[in-house]
């Protein structure tokens, strides 16, 4: 039913325009003649609230982009106003090569304005308040946002951000993009055993009698429930059907659900985090009392334990909740089943936004999608949950979902049940959006034994259509790459190398894949990460996350994927005891330097030798043996205290060094994942050089031959193999 709004005086006119309940249908009346003839210029046919986006206009035009969320008036029916403004800041990058233009943005940080001051005028609204940043240290910063409207069009919003002690302001011009605050794409796949209607819920809020008396009637779907929450959720209309007909297969485990997601989720590959998620309609979970699960969380929480988190969930159609589920409910039992079906989907998707259950947030009486009806009823009386539930998230949840720190909300970023980033350095949670010409990635073997040295492989790859001349010094010592490590306690540290090197960029032309062999388009380098200026970074068992940021010659900023590694637990008390000697600065420095004959590090080298012998048949022993071998493979010179001249204090000991590499090689043969490709190359190269120095050229050539053969089996690209083969010719 359309309700006409008849403004009679100036104040009422404005109220009419901003009245959330109004349908904005204005009919010119005689009274309107009292107003100036351009009264129509201040018409507004929709809410101010929603998402705005725009680039910086001053002082640096186009350098940054602001994603702005304004939440000050009703933007959708049954959608509460949270009276907040929030923003995500991105840095913009452009790369031009002739007529080719690449444009991408890198997420920097997020902020929120709690309870801003809002002043409505006839043709605009002015919002002011102080910014609260989610991460890092900032001086007091305030914002003044003016959003005009004219002839029915809202915006663009002019956002002026000023910091105390600074006379210059950052100014952005943001156009309105949506009435929602965020956009999420959902993909729903279905197991063949439960592929019967209804696949997705559709619930008329009037269908069940046990409901709040004044609950507005409407038909709720997943999309509509989330639209009311402020999220524009679109569901991919095509659903993959997963064949689960094997009679031996009866229930799903979290690991099986994750595996299915990896195979069927069309968005699984590629860079995360992103505003995408996957849901599987499946038969029965391993605990039959579970009606749905957001399985993508740490194993300690009952999830699959396969990061990144919060990408997928499942709803179990064979749960007794859904015994009476039909497409068009006509009885109270059927209506309850459909309502529960909707609840389960919305609840599990809610977990993917990083929601805990209500009682785990000390809100056991919350009337929220994230509470359990029976838990609420147990505290408040039978049937009271559905009797009072208004089919919505609670206020705190709405604020998190609409205005929370991006990394804490977006799928695939912060681990589930976490979100504290108060101490994180800038760029640690950055991720790329748009078309960058370069891909930067981190990889490793993933699992490391306790005390085992951690090395990661950094790779820069040309993904453009043109040759790119890039700096290939990827070690943080050269300053072109920054690495962040999130420890198991959630604290994020920036890796600080012991040495800082100043060198000219090592430029290399990386060819586009379209015109070259795979391998010529990329450059990889191994980086030892165990020890740095801050000490040992991986001295606690548990899961760590690593992200590197490539800055090249300074003209670009390319964040890598978020790579997770696990450090195992000590197997014995003896290992714990050894760790006390191992995790000290001298041993760390000896590892960092690949061994040293300096008398200052003698005790550290003794510790390493003890570790190499004690753990000979383990990855730890194999890695440390290689360090000892490298140390013995070259002579050592130091300044003589008396003569003040550099004198040789120890000779190279190739035979002893070779015997240490033998230990590493033997273990590698029994456990091929000990050394990753670059490390394995390094090991064989050390052996080759030692054999050459001992005059055993034939054996050295054989060493290279075996290396090429092994790397070929591991799928190493031809250009790399050709480079190694060329080395043989020089022997």
């Amino acid at each position: 039913m359309s309700r006409k709004v008849k403004p009679t005086k100036n104040q009422d006119f404005q109220t009419a325009l901003t009245n959330p309940a109004a349908d904005y249908t204005l009919v010119p009346q005689k009274e309107l003649l009292k107003y100036p003839t351009d009264w129509w210029q201040c018409l507004r046919f929709g809410p101010v609230s929603g998402r705005y986006e725009g680039e910086m206009t001053a002082p640096d035009v186009g350098k940054y982009l602001l994603d702005l969320r304004v939440d000050i008036d009703v933007r959708h029916a049954n959608s509460p106003v949270m009276n907040r403004v929030s923003g995500d800041l991105y840095q913009m990058y452009n790369y031009t090569w002739g007529t080719y233009k690449y444009k991408w943005r890198v997420y920097k940080e997020s902020w929120i304005i709690d309870n801003p001051t809002v002043k409505w005028s006839n043709c605009s609204v002015k919002i002011t308040g102080n910014l609260r940043f989610w991460t890092g240290f900032h001086l007091i910063t305030s914002a003044e946002i003016v959003i005009p409207w004219s002839g029915g069009t809202i915006g663009p919003a002019t956002v002026k951000i000023s910091s105390i002690f600074s006379s210059a302001s950052s100014v952005y011009s943001c156009t309105k993009k949506s009435n929602a605050f965020r956009e999420v794409k959902l993909e729903v796949d279905i197991c063949s055993s439960v592929n019967t209607a209804p696949i997705l819920p559709e619930y008329d809020t009037d269908d069940h009698n046990n409901r709040p008396v004044d609950l507005p009637q409407r038909v709720l779907t997943i999309e509509e429930s989330y639209q009311e929450a402020g999220i524009d959720m679109t569901i991919n209309p095509s659903h993959s059907i997963i064949d689960d007909s094997d009679s031996q297969f009866t229930t799903w485990s979290p690991a099986e659900l994750h595996d299915a997601m990896e195979q069927y989720f069309s968005q699984y590959a590629g860079t995360w985090p992103k505003w995408h998620m996957w849901c599987l309609l499946a038969g029965t979970f391993q605990s039959s009392s579970v009606g749905g699960i957001m399985f993508d969380a740490a194993a300690a929480y009952g999830g699959a334990g396969d990061a990144p988190d919060r990408q997928g969930c499942a709803v179990f159609r064979n749960h007794s909740w859904f015994n009476s589920l039909v497409q068009n409910p006509s009885t109270q039992t059927q209506a309850a089943a459909m309502r529960k079906y909707l609840y389960t989907y919305v609840h599990e998707i809610g977990h993917a936004f990083n929601f805990l259950h209500s009682w785990d947030k000390s809100r056991p009486d919350a009337l929220s999608w994230m509470n359990y009806d029976w838990k609420y009823d147990n505290r408040n009386g039978s049937g009271t949950f559905w009797g009072n539930f208004r089919m919505r998230f609670d206020d705190e949840e709405l604020i998190h979902m609409r205005h929370g720190n991006r990394a804490s909300v977006i799928m695939g970023a912060d681990p589930w049940a976490s979100g504290g980033h108060m101490e994180e350095p800038g760029n640690a949670m950055s991720n790329i959006i748009g078309d960058a010409p370069v891909e930067f990635s981190v990889k490793s073997k993933g699992y490391y034994q306790f005390m085992e040295p951690v090395s990661i492989e950094l790779r820069v790859k040309n993904i453009s259509e043109l040759p790119l001349n890039l700096d290939t010094q990827l070690h943080p010592e050269f300053g072109g790459v920054v690495i962040y490590i999130q420890r198991p306690d959630g604290k994020i540290l920036q890796y600080a190398p012991v040495l800082c090197k100043i060198a000219t960029p090592e430029l290399k032309v990386l060819q586009p894949l379209a015109v070259s062999l795979e391998g010529n388009d990329r450059h990889s380098q191994n980086v030892f990460l165990s020890f740095g200026s801050d000490g040992f970074y991986f001295n606690e068992p548990g899961e760590y996350a690593i992200r590197a940021v490539y800055q090249g010659d300074g003209s670009m900023l390319i964040p890598s994927n978020l790579h997770r590694i696990t450090i195992g637990r000590p197997f014995s008390r003896e290992e714990e005891k050894t760790a006390q000697d191992f995790f000290n600065n001298s041993t760390g420095m000896a590892l960092y330097l690949n061994g040293s004959a300096s008398p200052f590090l003698k005790s550290a080298m003794d510790t390493l030798e003890e570790v190499a012998n004690k753990y000979e048949k383990s990855p730890l022993g194999a890695q440390v043996s290689l360090v000892l071998a490298k140390n013995l493979s070259a002579p050592f010179y130091r300044i003589d205290e008396k003569t003040k001249k550099m004198v040789k204090t120890s000779d190279a000991k190739p035979a002893e060094a070779l015997s240490f590499t033998e230990k590493s090689l033997n273990y590698q043969k029994s456990e091929s994942s000990t050394f990753q490709n670059i490390e394995y190359h390094d090991l064989r190269k050390v052996r080759t050089d030692l054999l050459v120095s001992m005059g055993k050229t034939a054996e050295a050539k054989n060493e290279v031959k075996e290396l090429v053969s092994d790397l070929k089996k591991r799928g190493v690209n031809q250009p790399v193999l050709d480079t190694i083969k060329a080395y043989t010719k020089g022997l």
């Binding site: 605990s287 009392s289 929480y301 359990y372 029976w374 589930w416």
Partner: protein, 139 residues
């Protein structure tokens, strides 16, 4: 096929004595009580819900051990740690929950007249329970 009296007696002996020899008297009693062919039997479902963290739980019903597990941990994703379904005689029953590693115990006196669902939670130093006529669900 001819079935002789001897064969029948052999089968009866095997079915009654073998379980006693292999699994012990207590378990046999419990198994016997799980055969729901008598109308005075019903299902008691016990869910271990919030607050468990690598706990050792011993659960008895009328002094019979029905659950004895170590390292029981609540899944934060669902609010469920573990669960059991047992068949019990209708009427009064004593359910005793012991958290061995925390030295905690709670005796719950139940009057079971129909299918019953018990949720056990741990908060600090106390064991609490809720009872429902309907199965608990988790998500």
């Amino acid at each position: 096929m001819t079935v002789t009296l001897q064969t029948i007696l052999q089968k009866v002996l095997v079915l009654t004595l073998l379980p006693l020899l292999t699994i012990g008297y207590e378990e046999h009693r419990l198994m016997h009580t799980t055969n729901n062919f008598q109308t005075d039997m019903t299902t008691l479902s016990i869910d271990f819900q919030d607050g468990f963290d690598k706990d050792s739980i011993l659960c008895t019903v009328n002094e019979l051990t029905v659950f004895n597990k170590k390292a029981v941990t609540t899944s934060k994703l669902t609010g469920l740690a573990d669960s059991i379904n047992i068949e019990v005689e209708k009427g009064k029953a004593h359910l005793e929950i012991t958290i061995v590693n925390r030295n905690l115990s709670k005796l719950i006196k139940l009057n079971i007249t129909e299918e019953s669902y018990i949720g056990i939670s741990l908060a600090g130093d106390s064991i609490s329970y809720i009872r429902s006529a309907e199965p608990f669900g988790y998500g």
